[in-house]
Symmetry: C2
Subunit: 319 residues, 2 copies
């Protein structure tokens, strides 16, 4: 038995601690078997993270495990799906026990938090990278796509924006901060919380939704294009965290909120009549604009006047 077979067993042991509804067969055979109920669909999303491109090769493996699963799972939340399971394809140059233990613990922690069972995967030797494929369940026909936004809808976001981008200089060692501020921002970077509860509340209420991974303006552009509408973003309404404001000041914080990636908050389009009910279930939901006839994304000032758009270009990790 090679060391990579041992790794498989290591993760299999972690997986067997999580018997999950909807998982008919987990790790260990040619395939895993997932069960969805009659009238349900299975939501599927795949994300790859490459060392040196999406995360620093030397980063804490526990944090990497948490973040990798959270980032992938956020796509399920954005579709309105309930969490079900995931597979992990892990490519490693060498099998170091301490690294693997940390990684598996971080992964397991996020898996429990999200309610996702590890059901399979592959471990191979090669340059460090991870591919996670995540699975969720949805009542057929109730998925939140990007394509249903209607003129008159409110544009809403599920929480503060810009924290992921604000954390990046700390991750890269380009910025220092007090322990308290650093902790607040780094938690948002390394362990973003997929907004599963919000996503499921939005089912049958929101006309469109996605999660912010490329930056608010870029992702609103996806809604505008898929729905054939204009998305108006009111800059002064963007929710900014106290930590982000304290570390960078309002102007820089706003820029990070508009163009920074890695937020993993849900953005949705809501008919005004739905707002109160959704906010009752998810108080952090904040109106940040509206949907109008037209196309593209337009940033507005406090008086509703158009503002020049910031230069595009979100910042994921780059070495």
């Amino acid at each position: 038995m090679g060391e990579f077979e041992l790794i498989r067993r290591y993760f299999a042991a972690a997986a067997s601690a999580q018997p999950a509804a909807g998982v008919a067969l987990g790790i260990g055979d040619d395939c895993a078997l997932l069960q969805v109920s009659a009238g349900e669909q299975l939501a599927v999303s795949t994300d790859t993270l490459v060392a040196g491109v999406h995360f620093p090769e030397s980063c804490d493996p526990r944090l990497l495990g948490q973040r990798a699963l959270a980032v992938a799972a956020s796509d399920l939340a954005a579709m309105g799906a309930a969490p079900l399971a995931f597979t992990l394809a892990l490519t490693l140059p060498t099998a170091e026990p301490a690294w693997l233990q940390g990684f598996a613990e971080g992964l397991d922690q996020m898996a429990r938090q999200c309610g996702l069972a590890l059901v399979g995967g592959d471990t191979t030797r090669g340059p460090l990278s991870l591919t996670l494929t995540v699975f969720g369940r949805l009542p057929a026909g109730q998925a939140l796509t990007r394509g249903g936004a209607q003129v008159g809808d409110l544009l809403c976001v599920g929480g503060s924006l810009g924290d992921g981008a604000g954390a990046l200089p700390l991750v890269l060692g380009q910025q220092t901060a007090s322990a308290e501020l650093a902790a607040a921002l780094l938690a948002r970077y390394w362990a973003p919380q997929p907004q599963f509860v919000l996503g499921q509340v939005l089912r049958g209420r929101a006309t469109a939704a996605l999660d912010i991974s490329d930056g608010l303006l870029a992702d609103c552009g996806h809604i505008a294009q898929a729905s054939g509408v204009a998305v108006l973003v009111e800059r002064e309404r963007l929710p900014l965290s106290p930590a982000l404001l304290a570390l960078y000041g309002r102007d820089a914080a706003l820029a990070q909120a508009l163009s920074g990636g890695d937020d993993y908050r849900l953005v949705c389009c809501l008919p005004p009549a739905q707002l109160a009910e959704v906010q009752a279930a998810w108080p952090e939901l904040t109106v940040i604009g509206r949907i109008a006839a037209g196309h593209g994304v337009q940033l507005l000032d406090a008086n509703g006047q158009p503002l020049a758009m910031p230069v595009a270009g979100y910042q994921h990790f780059q070495p």
Copy 2:
């Protein structure tokens, strides 16, 4: 739009040519949506191929695309699943149009042949590697696992063995052969045919099944362990292709059939009463041994006498 966004669109165009039953939503949103009927389960398997570990970095991208999907899909066939869909996570150092076109064409060819629709994935920059996650459909409770073999079952294989291992020296340029022999073996290496038809015929008939990826003896060991039985393999019954015999002679061909990896034939355990019906549907099915009380794998000679086991160690591609 970056070049990697363009790649996504390139594959999305290929995917949209394959509208498939069971795919409610394909590429382009946060998730794909898969539909299975009431009473069905979804089979899921993930495989990673890394350049320099699983294939030569300089290999023909069209062949790589074919092989990557075939290898992954074989796990579905081994479970008895009907093909449904797959996702592709493609990591590339640079986006070269000629490489991408060849790869996408090879992938598309195997996808059509198998009946698998590309429903999503991710493209990232980094060292060349591929992770494919494949999806199939199964009537609930009818999956062919490794764990059900019964004493008295026949051990059967779905076609000739050893061709993948026999092709490897040709792939690596360590062996020459006539054009005809090379073509026969290389086809089995670069475009193995997932045995979907056989797998579905085996549902409700075989007690256990898997596909040979690690080598016949190693994979029979998985059945022995999961089922708590002994697997007896009769060496003289192993089906060997004319090309393999012509290039290597009988002794070396037998060694490749026993320990070589990359065959992707199904091995199954069949109650004797089921044999005729399965062979009627799949004439290549060959009895190569039987299941007995005990544990582990034992190789037998033509007289049923135990033979020394070949040294373990299958040969996947290694640079």
